[in-house]
């Protein structure tokens, strides 16, 4: 059936030559258009389907936020369809709930569902309102900038205002921008500094002032009146216009005498309490981060932002401008360049190899033309299926470059040989026969290659998202090459090929001469060779299991970034000072390498969970740094020794975000300890810490200590309250508004809004001043907080993390000089032996390692299925199970070289290396098919010839196509092996494995396969 279909396809295409050529010209044109328009990205979008809910609850402690906000939200969203995981973090002033969904749902649908559920959550008044986080990807921070004042005229507060009211709206109007996040500087607010002693003088309470503020500052519409046939609108304009208005607000009035706010408070503009700061080169600064919307293209968004820059700069006051800090497109272009240059040099190398083998311009031309054509078809398909051009998808093409031509080679070579053998026959029928002869094996070979990469598509999670574009592209380009081989190549062969004097050139003759004795030897010693090779494979397979494993080689982004962590509870002011010192230190000691240093301290305004003790330091490097690796190492050591009181963890901008996406764990490897009581969790984690410190390979360990935040607890004493006639509400209002500076109302200036805060004077000088805060009850009693509350200083939680509604603590680790899998193995045993974990508490492993484990487990299931599928395809092609098995035997031959290459070059077994093995799988099978199908063909033609002779002849005749396919694949992959640019390190393990695999597979196919065939069929004759 398949044969028939293919035969008629070849017949039709040979019949309508012009149509075929026009068709491919059109496809090329569209393919080229797709190539120029295809969205470009550094990475495939690896963000899980995730909806974030954050609730700003200023001034409130982690414990209360967990109880009053996080838990209600968590329980409302749990039990929704498609929820995979709910994670939350309650920190000082913020509740952060993140819901991970199964990937199959649409993100807008999910956001809708979550909003519906949120409507049912009730959170106490004054505790904030849950908001959905921006609809962006994990790598959504595509463009960072500083609002830079070159004149020195403007204060940080003014610059922050410009950022918020001028820059943000303009950038937000750019298509694809979801949000702009402001960071650094400080926000203006109006403070009413209330001297609480004066409350006694004028007989009012603190609550009276809050009430007075709320009742003033209003606007109202009074409809209209008609006068002299015209309409006059009536407007009640009661909003505060000046500070004088605030001062004159009446708090209490008796018999014509009134007490105003000005009588009891000083009104002035001030800064709101803040949770984050930004510092650049030793000075505080204001920056913004543009967030790209989900499913938009980073490069395009950044491009449009850059187009908008002149407008923004014009809108800003003179001397203030936008200065770019980080631009995602730079790395994108670097990564794509690495891959496209690998692809291009692969194409050139393959072309040279082809020409050397064929030594004939016409046939070489046909094969070479199939390369760009298949690639263009792949681009067309990429465009159609919305696959962006990125590191992974392009590397798929680069890997496949050598295999694209395989089908074409076989057909052209067969036609070429046949034309040479039968120079007098009708050209059309010769070409048609030649193409038909190999059509079935070629088709199945290509289908098998595609099938081999399907397991990658089935990978889940991060691995799946990373590697499926690669697999998809391999499938695309192989399908493209199949179409070219079956439709265009026969036509071109018919038009271009001419019978030549000799189908062999000098190179081929020499190779054959050298090869023949080995082949003879192999055929004569079939059994021992087969046994030997099998033994070798078994030994190597065992060695492979010992080889270290890792999830993904680190992408070199050509930039240096640090996560700097000070002890929990460190104040923002001090963190900012530390950052400034670090910046100055780097600028002073690395003037030739670093041009600028940026620190982001604490958190920005929108739903980040970092505390004030957390800093991110990004270095802008000068161009042309010789050895970035050495510089990074030197700097790591230098910084850690110069600033011993903080921890430095070196990372890179994208790597850091990817780490964060690993389910909230910002580390390669981590242990999550689950349970209820934070103190017990703390104890267990400390025990694990000390137990693991002796395990080899542990480079650093970091306990994300959730305790350690000193808290001033103000607990109302109900008896005392009763004595003085004060309600808890009054006390809490005082704490929230008077001490916590929550704004009571807003002063609206044009479109700008600034909080008006009824702040108690000198309340936050020290702990004693909190105790001394004075309250006046409605009945006139004057009490200090200390009199009516128990005020204690306690160690509280600085944050509380939960996963699926259960508290946990995180112990993250850095492992170096050893693969993670074996480290985890040993660590597990150590913990089991040394740490006792009470009932109700348990640990799980997380981080990079978990992904690797999941990927491996999945592959363990999928690879056998794939093998079965391949066998099925082979069986269909050859109609014989034993031949299918014979071809499959080639796979171990390929693996032998792959494993040797991997072990010799000391690379860990990563997903990238596994992809290499998959490619070998395909190549080995391809080699086998080409040879076995030809032997079969000869056996049918010459049934009386001795099997050994027949095998020898067949192998010799097939030597050229086998070598050609092998060498094209090898040279196609070589540029990846020697690439050095951004992203090359991810493809390195893969290319090492493939290179080794091709060599062993080709050699062994040419020797062992004939031997195997001989063993299998010598008795059947």
């Amino acid at each position: 059936m398949v044969t028939k279909m293919l035969n008629s396809l070849i017949d039709i295409s040979l019949k309508y030559k012009l149509l075929v050529i026009t068709l491919f010209l059109t496809i090329s044109a569209f393919g080229y258009k797709a190539y120029t328009e295809i969205p470009v990205d550094a990475f495939p979008d690896i963000t899980p389907k995730q909806v974030v809910i954050y609730t700003e609850s200023p001034g409130n402690s982690a414990q209360d936020i967990e109880k009053l906000i996080t838990y209600p939200i968590e329980s409302a969203v749990s039990g929704m369809a498609g929820v995979k995981l709910i994670m939350s973090n309650s920190i000082f002033g913020l509740s952060y709930v993140s819901i991970f969904f199964e990937d199959k749902y649409d993100i807008y649908f999910l956001r809708q569902l979550v909003s519906e559920r949120l409507a049912s959550v009730s959170i106490p008044n004054g505790w904030g309102k849950p908001v959905l986080g921006p609809n962006t990807t994990g790598l959504g921070q595509v463009y960072w900038y500083q609002v830079k004042d070159t004149t020195g005229k403007y204060s940080l507060r003014e610059i922050r205002e410009m950022q918020k009211y001028i820059v943000t709206p303009l950038f937000k109007s750019v298509a694809g921008v979801e949000d702009v996040i402001s960071w650094g500087g400080d926000r203006k607010q109006y403070d009413l500094l209330i001297d609480t002693k004066k409350l006694q003088d004028v007989s009012i309470t603190y609550g009276d002032i809050v009430n007075a503020l709320q009742k003033s500052n209003q606007a109202a519409g009074g409809q209209y009146l008609e006068f002299n046939r015209e309409q006059y609108l009536i407007r009640g304009a009661g909003l505060y216009k000046s500070l004088e208005d605030i001062r004159n607000t009446v708090v209490k009035s008796t018999a014509g005498q009134s007490v105003t706010i000005g009588d009891v408070a000083t009104v002035q503009s001030a800064s709101a309490p803040r949770f984050g700061a930004v510092s650049i080169d030793g000075d505080e600064a204001v920056m913004g981060m543009v967030l790209q919307r989900t499913a938009t293209n980073a490069a395009k968004v950044v491009e449009q932002i850059k187009e908008k820059l002149p407008t923004v700069n014009a809108a800003l006051p003179k001397g203030v401008e936008i200065s770019t800090i980080y631009d995602r497109t730079e790395i994108t272009h670097k990564a794509v360049n690495t891959m496209t240059s690998a692809l291009a040099s692969g194409v050139v190398l393959v072309a040279i190899v082809l020409f050397l083998f064929l030594f004939e311009l016409r046939s070489a031309f046909i094969v070479i033309i199939s390369l760009p054509l298949s690639l263009l078809i792949a681009f067309l398909l990429m465009d159609y299926y919305g696959v962006s051009a990125n590191l992974m998808s392009l590397s798929g093409l680069a890997i496949a470059v050598g295999m694209i031509v395989d089908g074409t080679i076989v057909i052209v070579e067969n036609s070429f040989r046949k034309l040479h053998e039968e120079p007098d026959a009708d050209k059309l029928s010769v070409i048609s026969d030649a193409a038909k002869e190999v059509a079935v094996p070629v088709t199945f070979a290509v289908l098998i290659i595609a099938a081999v990469f399907i397991p990658l598509l089935s990978l889940d999670g991060l691995a799946g998202k990373l590697y499926s574009p690669m697999a998809l592209n391999i499938v695309f380009v192989m399908l493209g090459s199949l179409a070219v081989a079956l439709i265009l190549v026969p036509t071109l062969s018919l038009l271009l090929l001419k019978p030549t004097g000799s189908s062999e050139n000098a190179v081929m003759r020499a190779i054959k001469k050298g090869y023949t004795p080995f082949l003879n030897y192999a055929l004569n010693h079939a059994k021992p060779i087969l046994v030997g090779v099998t033994l070798l494979f078994v030994v190597l397979a065992y060695i492979l299991t010992l080889q270290g494993r890792e999830f993904m080689p680190t992408l070199n982004e050509e930039s240096i970034m640090y996560r700097v962590i000070a002890i929990p509870g460190t104040g923002l002011k001090h963190s900012t000072e530390i950052s400034k010192l670090i910046e100055k230190h780097i600028l002073k000691n690395y003037p030739n390498e670093v041009s600028s240093v940026l620190s982001m301290i604490g958190r920005s305004e929108k739903g980040e969970t970092a505390q004030a003790n957390y800093m991110e330091v990004l270095l802008t490097l000068k161009p042309k740094i010789q050895d970035l690796d050495a510089l990074t190492k030197k700097m790591n050591k230098d910084l850690q020794s110069s600033f011993t009181f903080v921890q430095f963890i070196s990372t890179q901008p994208i790597a850091m975000r990817i780490e964060e996406l690993l389910e909230g764990v910002k580390a390669e490897l981590a242990i999550k300890i689950f349970g209820d009581d934070q103190k017990v969790l703390d104890k267990i984690s400390k025990e694990i810490q000390s137990a693991l410190s002796s395990v080899d390979g542990l480079e650093g360990m970091e306990l994300e200590s959730q305790l350690g935040q000193a808290t001033i607890n103000i607990e109302p004493d109900y008896l005392a309250l009763a004595r003085y006639g004060i309600t808890v509400d009054e006390v809490m209002t005082l704490i929230r508004n008077g001490i916590g500076e929550e704004s009571v109302t807003q002063k609206i200036e044009g479109i700008r809004r600034f909080g008006i805060v009824a702040k108690i004077k000198d309340a936050k000088k020290d702990i004693q001043s909190i105790k001394d805060v004075t309250l006046r009850a409605k009945n006139g009693s004057i009490v200090t907080l200390e009199q009516i509350c128990n005020i204690t200083v306690k160690q509280g939680a600085s944050f509380i993390k939960r996963e699926n509604l259960s508290r946990y603590m995180l112990l993250s680790m850095e492992v170096e000089g050893r693969d993670i899998a074996s480290f985890v193995q040993e660590a597990k045993e150590v913990i089991k032996a040394k740490v006792s974990i009470p009932d109700g508490y348990y640990i799980t492993w997380a981080g990079d390692f978990k992904n690797m484990q999941e990927a491996t487990q999945r592959l363990m299931v999928i690879i056998p299925i794939t093998i079965f599928l391949v066998i099925l395809l082979l069986y269909t092609a050859f109609n014989s199970l034993s031949k299918a098995m014979l071809i499959l035997i080639n796979v171990p031959f390929g693996f032998i070289g792959g494993i040797i290459a991997l072990v010799v070059s000391g690379i860990y077994l990563s997903v990238s290396a596994i992809v290499g093995f998959l490619a070998i799988f395909a190549i080995a099978i391809l080699n086998g098919i080409v040879l076995v199908s030809f032997i079969d063909e000869l056996r049918v033609k010459f049934p009386d010839v001795d099997l050994k002779t027949l095998l020898k002849d067949a192998t010799l005749l097939r030597l050229r196509p086998v070598l050609m396919t092998a060498f094209t694949t090898l040279f196609g992959i070589l540029p990846l092996l020697y690439a050095t640019g951004v992203g090359s390190e991810i493809q390195y393990p893969l290319s090492v494995v493939i290179t080794g695999g091709i060599i062993s597979s080709t050699l062994l196919t040419l020797l062992v396969l004939p031997a195997g065939y001989y063993l299998l069929y010598k008795k059947r004759r």
Binding site: K197, K198, Q200, D201, A566, I567, P568, T570, H574, Q640, S641, S642, F643, T644, F645, V646, Q647, K686, Q689, S690, S693, G700, M701, E702, L703, S705, G708, A710, R723, Y724, Q768, D772, N779, G780, S781, I782, V783, T784, Q787, V793, K794, Q795
Partner: protein
């Protein structure tokens, strides 16, 4: 091994990077005060007493009952043997001193000529100094009583008392020519316009207050001192605070009656405590601690964590329990020591 070495090196380097100052714990007396809300009031019919400062015999009143007096006006003349003794002694001492000074001059001249010994000169000098000291003691006693010694030529028993503030003489307690002992009330003055400070004090301070303690009123940048004259037995019903009355003796300018003002009550020196700088305190593992430098070996951190209990505090010092006098402690930048300790327990670097 290499790692341990590196880690030690890191710590040593770190110590160089941030200089951590230390100090010795010392005993220190704490002066406590409390800020108050106070109201300026004027009390009519406030009684003031003019007391006799010496014992003696009332010779003459310069005033009559019901008469208005002004501050500094003569009130009464007392004949006092004490005064007479003191003045005569003063005069005789003064004469002796003059004579002795002459002696000394003479001896000095002789000594310079080498005609007497140094011991003799010293003897004369010591006698002279002794006389001078006695004279000065008398001088200050007399000046407390308002007698200026510079004008004192001959001994006198007469002692004049002056009114210490304006007022009306409401009562003369003792008749003329009667005897009076020291510290007895002689005359009651009724001040018609006395300024008082009415201060409101939280109940918890009740055990600490005494009559005579100083309350300083802060008004328009000026500090006006007053002294507690009365502690009202009833707590203020509305504010639920103790009410203290302190009289403002000085006639201050621009005091407005019924105006509220802020004031500070000084309790006087309390006990001495072992004290440390406030900047030394750190909250660590749910307790207040200070860090004590110790000699460390190997990769140990050269600080010990000492739990202390803060007892009393003022602006910059804290009295604590849990530390011995003279013990060295980290007086500032305790944050860095805490970082070091927390980081090492995280197992960083090794």
């Amino acid at each position: 091994m290499i790692r341990i070495f590196l880690f030690t090196a890191l710590i040593i380097l770190g110590l160089h990077a941030v200089e951590i100052p230390t100090a010795k714990a010392t005993k220190r007396a704490f002066f406590q005060n409390v800020k108050l809300n106070a109201q300026i009031i004027q009390l009519p019919n406030a009684k003031q007493s003019i007391m006799s400062q010496v014992s003696g015999h009332i010779e003459k009143y310069f005033i009559k009952a019901g008469q208005k007096v002004k501050k500094g006006q003569k009130v009464v003349l007392i004949e006092s043997i004490t005064i007479s003794k003191m003045t005569s002694e003063y005069i005789s001492q003064k004469k002796q001193l003059i004579a002795q000074e002459k002696n000394y001059e003479a001896t000095l001249a002789l000594y310079k000529k080498g005609m007497t010994s140094l011991q003799a000169l010293n003897r004369e000098s010591i006698t002279k100094d002794g006389l001078l000291a006695k004279l000065n003691a008398l001088k200050s006693q007399l000046s407390i009583l308002g007698i200026k010694t510079s004008k004192l030529i001959r001994a006198s028993a007469k002692f004049i008392l002056y009114a210490h503030s304006d007022g009306i003489v409401s009562k003369i307690s003792l008749p003329t020519h009667s005897s009076v002992s020291q510290n007895t009330q002689i005359i009651s003055l009724l001040k018609d316009k006395a300024y008082y400070l009415k201060s409101f004090l939280p109940l918890e301070y009740a055990p600490k207050i005494k009559i005579g303690q100083k309350i300083v009123m802060h008004e328009n940048g000026k500090n006006i001192i007053s002294q507690i004259t009365q502690i009202l037995p009833n707590v203020d019903a509305t504010t639920q605070r103790i009410v203290l009355l302190s009289s403002i003796d000085k006639k201050a300018q621009n005091l407005f009656i019924n105006a509220y003002t802020s004031a500070t009550l000084y309790f006087g020196a309390s006990k001495s405590f072992i004290s440390i700088k406030k900047s030394a305190l750190s909250f660590f593992d749910n307790e207040w601690v200070v860090f004590i430098p110790i000699d460390a070996q190997g990769d140990e951190i050269p600080y010990e964590v000492r739990v202390v209990e803060p007892v009393i505090a003022d602006e910059s010092f804290v009295g604590v329990k849990g530390l011995d006098e003279g013990e060295e402690y980290v007086s500032d930048k305790s944050y860095y020591v805490k970082s070091m300790l927390l980081k090492s327990s995280m197992g960083d670097g090794d």
